[in-house]
């Protein structure tokens, strides 16, 4: 290698290494800043779930507490993120209850499920898309199969999520269980016993969930009728039977008791 070439290449290599290090540092900083904003973004979403007149007051308190949590974890980015997200997610899920928003009776039992199912649906859709693209890039003929699997899984996810949200069934065990079963059945190939069995089970499962949903809706309707009629003791009794351990509706009971 000639000396002239070395004179050109060495500074270039050093410059490239420096630029790479700087870019990596910038990317890290960008990622860190964006991650740190996640809890605050969740609180912004929570603010949208409370009545306008209480928004400023409540968000002031939540943001100040989050600021305190973050200040306590200075130098511990992972702990900061986990604690911040945990705090903000809890607030997001229960924001109407914190504000004492009685309009939530309309959607009793489904609020958390709707948010969670929406988030999971988005994540599952992104995952399916990424998987399809990855398979397409790796092995072009597989793209058709990969697409079918992804679409199948996406529809399956939608079905499970909608059913879970409608029945107020805990989505956190239904979703992973369903996705695992779906993956297993898809991997076994079309018309295999696993595939057919899964289809039958899925169909039966959805029917059962829809049936439970109808039952639940009827009971919620009768609950609403009780509270509208001012029969607080009957409402409390029925409520405790329907939602054992639920403490969210105390405000509804309190308001009904205060009615003249």
């Amino acid at each position: 290698m000639s000396a002239t070439l070395l004179i050109v290449l060495v500074p270039l290599a050093v410059g490239f290494a420096l630029a790479r290090a700087v870019l990596a540092d910038i990317a890290n900083e960008e990622a860190r800043t964006r991650l740190e904003r996640i809890p605050f973004a969740l609180l912004d979403l929570a603010a949208r779930r409370v009545p306008t007149k209480q928004r400023e007051d409540l968000t002031g308190e939540w943001n100040a507490e989050l600021d305190h949590i973050i200040a306590r974890t200075e130098g511990l980015p992972l702990s900061r993120l986990v604690r911040g997200v945990r705090f903000a997610a809890g607030i997001l899920l229960r924001a109407p209850d914190i504000a004492g928003d009685l309009s939530r009776l309309r959607k009793l039992g489904t609020t958390a499920g709707r948010i969670a199912s929406g988030a999971l649906l988005a994540a599952a859709g992104l995952g399916a898309l990424a998987g399809t693209l990855w398979l397409a890039a790796k092995n072009p003929p597989a793209v058709v199969i990969a697409g079918q699997v992804s679409v199948g899984l996406s529809w399956f996810t939608i079905g499970v999520m909608v059913a879970a949200a409608k029945t107020a069934t805990p989505w956190w065990w239904l979703a992973p269980a369903g996705l695992s079963a779906g993956n297993f059945a898809m991997a076994a190939g079309p018309n295999s016993p696993a595939h057919i069995g899964f289809g039958v089970l899925f169909g039966c499962g959805v029917c059962y969930l829809l049936y439970k949903n109808r039952q639940l809706q009827r009971r919620i309707k009768s609950l609403k009728a009780l509270i509208d009629a001012g029969d607080v003791s009957a409402f409390t009794r029925e409520h405790d039977l329907l939602f054992p351990g639920c403490t969210e509706c105390a405000e509804i009971i309190l308001t009904a008791q205060m009615k003249p």
Binding site: F87, A89, I98, A99, T247, A250
Partner: protein, 109 residues
């Protein structure tokens, strides 16, 4: 002052306040003391506040000077302290094990 539906979680929170009825508490400190997540604690604080058992106040600080936003504190009101003590006493009696399940019977078993 209004009634509040008393649950074990509400009692647990009231128990924290009655340790020192004059001491203002922050939400996050109560989360740590009770072990409850924000989604469980804050609705309880909200109910107690609206019912008049708790008083919620913004810290009287200058955020620019303190270098942080003003936090909110909760403290039992006078009536709230009385009701909290009553409820703790009543429910403590309700939840205490009957004599035949007491420590003596466990020791003898």
């Amino acid at each position: 002052m209004d009634d509040v539906r008393i649950t074990l979680a509400v009692l647990h929170v009231l128990r924290q306040f009655t340790e020192d009825v004059t001491k203002p508490r922050y939400g996050y400190d109560l989360m740590r003391a009770t072990g409850y997540p924000s989604g469980k604690l804050y609705p309880i604080l909200g109910r107690l506040d609206r019912a008049g058992w708790l008083s919620r106040q913004r810290e009287d600080i200058d955020p620019a000077e303190a270098g942080r936003p003003a936090r909110y504190t909760y403290v039992l009101t006078e009536g709230g302290a009385t009701r909290a003590r009553q409820e703790l006493a009543v429910n403590s009696a309700k939840l205490s094990p009957p004599p035949h399940l007491g420590l003596r019977s466990l020791r003898d078993a």
